[in-house]
Symmetry: D2
């Protein structure tokens, strides 16, 4: 199939199609297929929206059955059977066993919408306007969330000054200790030029920021400071939640209890649009409809979401992540980290970054990978980090195959440079 | 099924579930069913997202087939077969016959996201920050769109001052002529206190604002002023597009050519989350990825969208709207408008409002309708307008049945008042 | 003396020197003198800062004596003898007889600084961020005040979007009744897109806006609406206070009691920099130093201010204004208003405007006046209004002489046009 | 004289009068006198506005003569003889010998107004909205300048979110090298969340921030980074200019050439209100009147300003500062720095701070000083720094006398603590 129709009619804003210039048809598990009959291993997985891989049969069957039954599809925030079942399952099987007690808010079905809702709630509760977030963070593209987002390209689209947000240095910039000190100093120095914020918004692993894992100690430090000064802690678990880092919530490893959690992407189970905001029950001061959205009640997404959670538990996905994490880590450290020119390899669970230190190198590696049959995104400073994000249930041999391509691509890119 | 799980776990922000306090199970065409076995006629239709009714078989079959085929479900902005087919169909079957030439941008799958993208584009193109919108307008809940949205309840959630938007008086407030004069005066009076805006954002029919139909002449006036002063005209066709007013685009009746059009809700065909931004090809100055979103490539929504357009054309839905519009208009004017206490009946196509002038009266009518088996929303000033928005393909007898309940409910509400 | 030093070294921002291109040396009463020995009648009077004319002997003597005595000159907000005397005099001789009970705040010695202080206070008291002001209004050039100011030229300097202000249509645009209705509608319509403001800021006579006198009834209407909805009424009396309109405060003629009053310009008596903010005693919730400024305690200005008030009372300036107002009104109505091409003559007290309807005409008239020995500013829409603002104590024959030049200049300008 | 009139009528915002609770009458040189006949040594000097002491005879004579001559007093930005003379003198005697070539803009006569003008100009030239400033900085109280100002008390008065400013860590917080690195990183890291700013605003010595002297090397580093990335360097020399640090401009010691310089306070010579903005001639893109202000042409201030510069040169004030600086430094280091409990002594020229580390201690010391006949302000973190700012021409014995009181006061305050 020709790509002409896209070039003619689709806006120039299209992006991934430039990196992966083919037309995709069907997909299953960790494999993508294009109209030319080519097969690709997927280390991209919908930017984290496909933790259970493409079209997993268990969820697919649930969707098909719901569709067939003429179950209500679009319900805004009316009560429905799928929503009741999802809520019950999520509360009793996911939250309760983790000692978490959150109210659930169904926001518009995009991560950015959940973040916008979280900002509203934090500001409403505290009566403050300012919010803190980290350099390197990515939180969405609508105006409220965009003010939190840090990459210059995204921000340039705003067209208006982005305000009410102060960005903290990330721990990988000047060290963890400094990052905590700086955060606390902003609050305690009476000439810092910044007011006490409503919330601190944080990704426990900066994904788009270049796969930077914030340590448990650092996250605990953030929680301590937030509690001490009455700042709400909002974890953006949109990309690295849903077991991506090994546990359902990415913050579990730190033993912290955020006040607010934004969830999206893989919560939709099958790549279906869904987003949730979770928060402490005592914070539920919303008035009816104060934040809403037409598609916050897409029942097919909710059906997929519950089925996804069932997969998570039935298939012991968290344990599977641990197993695969070891494979990825070992491979990257042994086969990639030591390639001359590789700046750093870092990651946790099944999100890993290979930092090549330059846009050109990472671009060359990504291109080589694509040509060798691997779909892999880039992230971070100067787009210089290869982002490795396989499905959490990827077959082990496919995983190894993909990793081999990563090594090959990095070697190719770096060889290309040295030969120049 | 008990509602307890919602009361215990779902945020207080839930809204429609308070007006329609039951648990829905399945739906077909214009009928909703709850767990108690009750049946409701739907004059609400997903706030305009279900123009073809619930679960129409034609689209359902397409969705089931795509699901079954393991077609790629989640693709961000990569090229896919369904997207190619949709774009081609939309351009050649919808746009071209109407003499419209727009580029298509797939934004995050919510109306508010399309509006945010439209604001970014308008500001980027013009280099201006201000935007004009109308009092009574509703354009979404994320921070950029929320600044356009006018109802006090929505705005109260922001928690920060909403800026860069100037609201114009709507034509129903002080007359059309005045509204145009005021708009032009703001631009030409060198002491108006307002800068030349990037765009004027307008709904041709204010839906949430209380079903106010802007006349063709007025819309032409807006276009004339926009053109004269280099202001981009952005039509928010999210709720009243997709043939709701009789033609696919609500602005067709005025013969205008907006620079930007935001489309969502019923474009998803089956209640599926989807949103598009359309704009003149010469305006396509986006950089790759400058506005993005994880779920902008939900293929099931795109499959449903194309199928929805096929329904539109195959079933001659536009003509069907005209037929039903006549029924609704005649009924409301003859049976409702003259009920003592009814302030006004107004509408176009299949969006009609019965203005009862007070929150209490409209609330009573809505409640009576629900008890009589009709789902119907309220809108407008003090929430005092009953909003009648049946499916565009509602069987005529069901339509009449629903209208009878409207008349009954209004009578009940007004009788309740007079008896006090 | 050459003007070269200015052209070489002074910023292009200089403005009046372009209209009156000569170097001034000394001044007395209503006469200005330049280095070439020319004499000019002053109908400009420091943009309203010289109500008692240039260098009045009574005040001059007080200044000289204070200077000679080595009285403290610069005292910030420390207690001083001149300040005690001024406060006492102002409270007992100006406020008390008018039934006004205000606390006095010495702000930085510029009108814009008083406005900034007033905005802070209004926002602090109400906890609201928005403020209403009128189209045509001018309130200062620092960022907070500039957001209130409406002329495009001033606003263009901001370099950032000006926010938190909504501009109301002025009564001369669509009528008084409409202006009041619109104001109230913005507050009561729950879809107006505007939140309840902290304050309404108003000049009772828009001076820079083109000499538009707001009627007593209109001002009373504003006060009524403000009181009803808990909006603070802030009268900017900077240019038209200090008896310019016939009474000390310009709002006296309407019998209203603003919550906050900004005073500057002629309060400095001798053209000395001074600004005050007056407000109801119960509103005095300032914390020490919460708004401050180095020159808020210029004692020479305070000495001049008290002496100015003494002149006001001793010389019965208010009565003198009435006498002169009659002369100006009669002259303008009889000799100018009927010149073909004059659009309107309007004014009150000793602030009058001759509206010529175009920049070019008014520019020509102003130039002709200058050549004939009269200093006169322009204002309003397209800078098309000649602003006549003589000293309040101008000798009657000088006044008549100046008025003759006005008539001559208008005739010249209009003849110039018709001859083309 | 009683203080009752102030307590009854003056706003609670009054501040210094609480620290120095007496009524002042006359002043000369470095001595203040109150109505009770007490004499105080002045180490405060109008917060830096009285570098030549109170009522210096040379300037006084010039003022008296100008007043007597009926020279024009108030002239806005019209050309006058005093202004020509001042400009010429300033350009040829102050700027030219220092190799500086600046255009002069007469802003409203307050420091904050000059800063507002500088912000406008920087934004206008660069087309950018953001500005960088330092933690600890103080730049004024009107809304634009207030966003730069960092102390929590001042900012709390704003009543609206303060935007478009990013505060950098000051060199005394985490070291000079870090401060430079952080500044540059914000610009170069493509995920810093901050856009390239229009300007960097800096005080070379943070006065209100607690007397922190920025080193020459640091200032040079700032200039280098600004030049490299096209950021305008705006030095706020309002408090520490006019020879306070030993040279006329405080930045001379670093050999840098700021793009913009804000000057006020002591430029008024005699405590008279005046403010200037200086900038590179090629930056003079102002339109006439784009920034203005009624009192920007107070001729008495301009007469005083020129006379002040004459004093500066005739009396070799810069050399006198060096002589006095040695006395102060030696005394403080030998007699104060080693008092147990004194945290730090720091300063340059004739601005010195004694950091006592706590509000309570510094308050006690300030009170003790007042009781012993010394007027001395506090500044910095928790208001814990005694700010020593004598006149630049203070007689040496008076200087020593004042320093003895400082030592006495610190001893008293610390003894009071240790005895508890």
């Amino acid at each position: 199939m020709s790509q002409e129709v896209f070039e003619k009619y689709e806006s120039n804003v299209r992006s991934y199609s430039r990196t992966f210039p083919t037309v995709f048809t069907w997909a299953k598990g960790s494999l993508l297929h294009d109209t030319a009959g080519r097969e690709f291993i997927d280390f991209f997985n919908g930017a984290g929206a496909l933790n259970y891989g493409h079209n997993p049969d268990y969820i697919k069957a649930k969707l098909a059955a719901y569709l067939e039954s003429d179950g209500i599809m679009h319900a805004l925030d009316m009560y429905t059977v799928p929503k009741a079942e999802f809520i019950e399952y999520f509360e009793t099987k996911i939250l309760a066993p983790r000692g978490l007690d959150y109210k659930i808010m169904f926001t518009g079905p995009t991560g950015t919408n959940a973040i916008e809702a979280g900002l509203k709630l934090a500001r409403k509760i505290t009566g403050r306007t300012g919010v803190f977030a980290f350099q390197g963070g990515y939180h969405g593209m609508t105006l409220g969330a965009l003010a939190l987002t840090t990459d210059a390209g995204s921000r340039a689209g705003a067209g208006v000054p982005l305000g009410n947000v102060t960005h903290l240095p990330a721990p990988y910039q000047y060290g963890e200790e400094f990052a905590l000190t700086y955060f606390e100093d902003l609050i305690t120095y009476d000439h810092s030029g910044v007011e006490l914020p409503a919330a601190l918004v944080v990704e426990t692993v900066q994904a788009e920021g270049g796969v930077h894992v914030f340590s448990a100690a650092f996250l605990q430090g953030l929680e301590r400071i937030c509690k001490q000064y009455g700042i709400l802690l909002l974890v953006d678990d949109i990309q690295v939640g849903c077991a991506r880092t090994g546990r359902f919530f990415s913050f579990e490893r730190a033993g912290i209890h955020p006040d607010i959690v934004a969830v999206s992407k893989s919560i939709g189970g099958y790549g279906m649009p869904l987003a949730l905001l979770l928060f402490r029950p005592d914070m539920d001061i919303w008035k009816p409809g104060e934040h809403n959205g037409t598609f916050r009640g897409n029942q097919l997404s909710i059906v997929a979401a519950k089925a996804g959670l069932e997969v998570l538990l039935q298939d012991r996905v968290e344990a599977g992540v641990a197993e695969r994490e070891a494979i990825v880590r070992d491979f990257l450290l042994q086969e990639v980290a030591n390639i001359p020119g590789v700046k750093e390899v870092r990651g946790i669970g099944l999100i890993w970054g290979v930092d090549l230190g330059s846009d050109a190198l990472a671009g060359a590696a990504s291109k080589a990978a694509y040509q060798a049959g691997l779909i892999m995104e880039r992230a971070g400073r100067d787009n210089s980090v290869l982002k490795i994000m396989p499905s959490l249930v990827i077959p082990l041999d496919t995983l190894r195959q993909g990793l081999e391509i990563v090594a090959h691509s990095v070697n190719t890119a770096l060889a290309g440079v040295s030969s120049v």
